[in-house]
């Protein structure tokens, strides 16, 4: 085990990580955010979802360094006396879950369809690529909004789990095209290589060649893309929630918190909306920077 660890420490990727201050800072910030989100029930000073602990007399308190602020609530409270710091930890949790789940779904769909299109070619490939072209000519946010809108019309009184499912599908629908195109391209290259032909000659079933032989060789770019897409997915989720078609208000994500806080901007309570915003930007920026670093580290030509 320690041997494997030492080998990893000496590897190119680990070296490029150690020598990139941006990557280290981004990883640290990202880790802190993810830690707070995952362990929110244990780390957060209050439970924002427990309505019985809220006290209206504590509503709209500013952060502790401002006049009138209390050390009980570091980043202040919202209109119902909810601790902002705890609310944004719980909110980041929901943002991360939705973001990761939708990226996972779009990777599954995109990689699967891309493999089939690249491996089979012919009309399957042609049809799939036309669909991709049409999808790509529309902004992602529009597609997501449309899916959310249709789901709203179709299931007017859906429960929380349905709302989450719809949201994840809507975001995943906007992302799969990129994976499909990338994987299709590299699959077409791999298809002509000797190891695939050797596998074919020895009578390995096509689906087995796709999954066992081709798939591991086309996953590199997918990993880089997926990292960056996590940031995009989290921002899309926040945008949808901000527009009021995202997660149900009973389980607020960062976008929902920003939307709620936006109403109090003019009465001077800027902290209700700005702190969730800062959290969102920190997560998105650190994931983006890590993705950029990973792309450079995995691509030897850029060195």
């Amino acid at each position: 085990m320690s041997n494997a660890l030492a080998r990893w420490w000496d590897s190119d990727v680990a070296y490029s990580f150690r020598s990139s201050p941006t990557a280290i800072v981004a990883a640290l910030v990202g880790l802190v955010c993810v830690f707070c989100a995952v362990f929110a029930p244990w780390v957060a000073p209050h439970n924002p979802l427990d309505l019985t602990t809220l006290e209206l007399s504590d509503a709209r308190l500013p952060p502790f360094w401002m006049e009138g602020g209390s050390s009980k609530y570091w980043l202040g409270t919202d209109d119902q006396g909810r601790d902002i710091l705890s609310a944004l930890m719980y909110g980041a949790r929901i943002s991360l879950v939705v973001g990761l789940a939708s990226v996972l779904l779009s990777v599954l769909v995109g990689v699967g369809l891309g493999l089939i299109a690249g491996f089979r070619g012919g009309w399957v490939d042609g049809f799939l690529m036309r669909v991709c072209d049409v999808m790509l000519s529309f902004p992602a946010i529009l597609i997501a909004l449309l899916v959310a809108g249709v789901a709203r019309a179709k299931f007017p009184d859906a429960g929380t789990s349905v709302a989450f499912g719809v949201l994840i599908i809507a975001i995943a629908l906007t992302g799969w095209v990129q994976y499909a195109r990338t994987v299709r391209g590299s699959t077409m290259v791999e298809r002509g290589k000797e190891y695939v032909q050797a596998a074919r000659v020895t009578g390995v079933a096509p689906w087995r060649i796709m999954l066992k032989h081709v798939l591991p060789n086309v996953m590199g770019p997918v990993m880089v893309l997926a990292t960056i897409q996590v940031a995009t997915a989290i921002i899309t989720e926040a945008t949808l929630s901000f527009l009021g078609v995202g997660v149900p208000p009973t389980s607020p994500s960062l976008g929902t918190l920003i939307r709620v806080g936006n109403d109090y901007l003019f009465s001077g309570e800027w902290w209700i909306t700005i702190f969730p915003g800062v959290m969102l930007v920190l997560i998105a920026l650190s994931v983006n920077l890590l993705g950029d670093w990973l792309r450079d580290a995995l691509n030897p030509r850029l060195r």
């Binding site: 529009l142 959310a148 527009l243 936006n262 901007l265 003019f266 930007v281």
Partner: protein
């Protein structure tokens, strides 16, 4: 050349018909118009009568054909929520969105190109580094957050600019314009800036990258050897050659501007099509959603087509390649 245009036109028509099909499916399977029109306690006879009147008893593809015919004439029926004609609702809102997108595009070009040129010519200078860092932030900040920040700083804290609505407008025929009053321009600044920032950073990075590329080419070296002034080299030779890809991207992004206006319009309560669409989504107003989808698709397809054609006109190399290919 003729074959190229024809192929692009055909592609555009295929895209429009498939978008129309999606919109048609929306009408077919989301919410039954008969029940909505008649209410829950209608008799079976009434329902049958209305189905026949609306043409809903006809075969699927006949209905689709009628839908397409109506859509081409801009006819999408009545809004479920407001009861008014969808085409009229969209027509009322279109000028607001169009003016916003236009001003945002102009802002992005007028600020983005000089910033990009500067960052390329004075590479490594302090100001260039600031530009690059700010542009990274511009890409990472979600649009709605930029809007909220601008409102907080310029409306709430400084009190300089209004933060919602279009202000005073002037009517020219059916077009209501905010571009002819001071109040309209004041209301325009913050939303246009919000909408422009993403495109601005994109254009800046693009101009910088292209400019650096061009400055390395032989004809620039030759121009220097001829003893031309820096000014003539940078702006006469280099900038001119960087602008072709910039024009293409900007053209393609104009459609994106109109779509992203959904978010900006929500933040600033700008009475455009985007706000109408968001309200339609929240209230499941299918006709408005379908009409907006078709309209946006049309705008995208037309812009793509025009940009493709312009590209051939502007870049002589493409024409040569086409001619050599035949």
């Amino acid at each position: 050349m003729g074959a190229f245009i024809l192929r692009r036109l055909l592609q555009a028509i295929v895209v429009m018909v498939s978008v129309g099909f999606i919109a048609f499916l929306l009408f077919q399977y989301v919410g039954d118009p008969v029940l909505i029109l008649l209410g829950q306690d209608a008799t079976p006879d009434q329902i049958r009568q209305l189905r026949a009147d609306l043409g809903l008893d006809q075969p699927f593809f006949v209905q689709f054909w009628h839908f397409l015919l109506n859509a081409v004439q801009g006819e999408f029926g009545l809004s479920l929520r407001q009861g008014a004609k969808v085409s009229r609702l969209l027509g009322e809102r279109f000028p607001a969105t169009f003016e916003l997108a236009l001003v945002a595009a102009a802002l992005a070009l007028l600020i983005g190109i000089p910033m990009g040129v500067y960052a390329a010519l004075r590479r490594g200078s302090f100001l260039s580094q600031v530009f690059m860092t700010v542009s990274l932030l511009g890409v990472s900040l979600p649009t709605f957050l930029i809007g909220i920040l601008l409102i907080l700083i310029f409306s709430v804290w400084l009190g300089w600019l209004p933060s919602f609505g279009r202000g005073e407008t002037v009517r020219i025929g059916w077009w209501s314009s905010g571009l002819f009053t001071l109040d309209g321009w004041l209301h325009m600044i913050l939303p246009a800036l919000t909408l422009a920032i993403f495109q601005l950073t994109l254009i800046m990075r693009l101009v910088r990258a292209e400019m650096l590329e061009v400055l390395r080419t032989d004809y620039i070296k030759f121009a220097r050897a001829r003893g031309l002034t820096d000014r003539a080299i940078h702006f006469g030779h280099a900038l001119k050659n960087t602008l072709v890809p910039v024009m293409t991207i900007t053209g393609l992004q104009l459609g994106g501007l109109i779509a992203f206006a959904i978010i900006t319009e929500t933040v600033f309560q700008w009475p455009g099509m985007g706000l109408l669409f968001i309200q339609a989504v929240t209230f499941a107003d299918v006709p408005v959603m379908a009409a907006y989808l078709c309209l946006i698709a049309l705008i995208f397809v037309v812009i793509n087509l025009v940009v493709d054609l312009l590209y051939v006109v502007v870049d002589p190399r493409l024409r040569v390649a086409k001619a050599a290919g035949h």
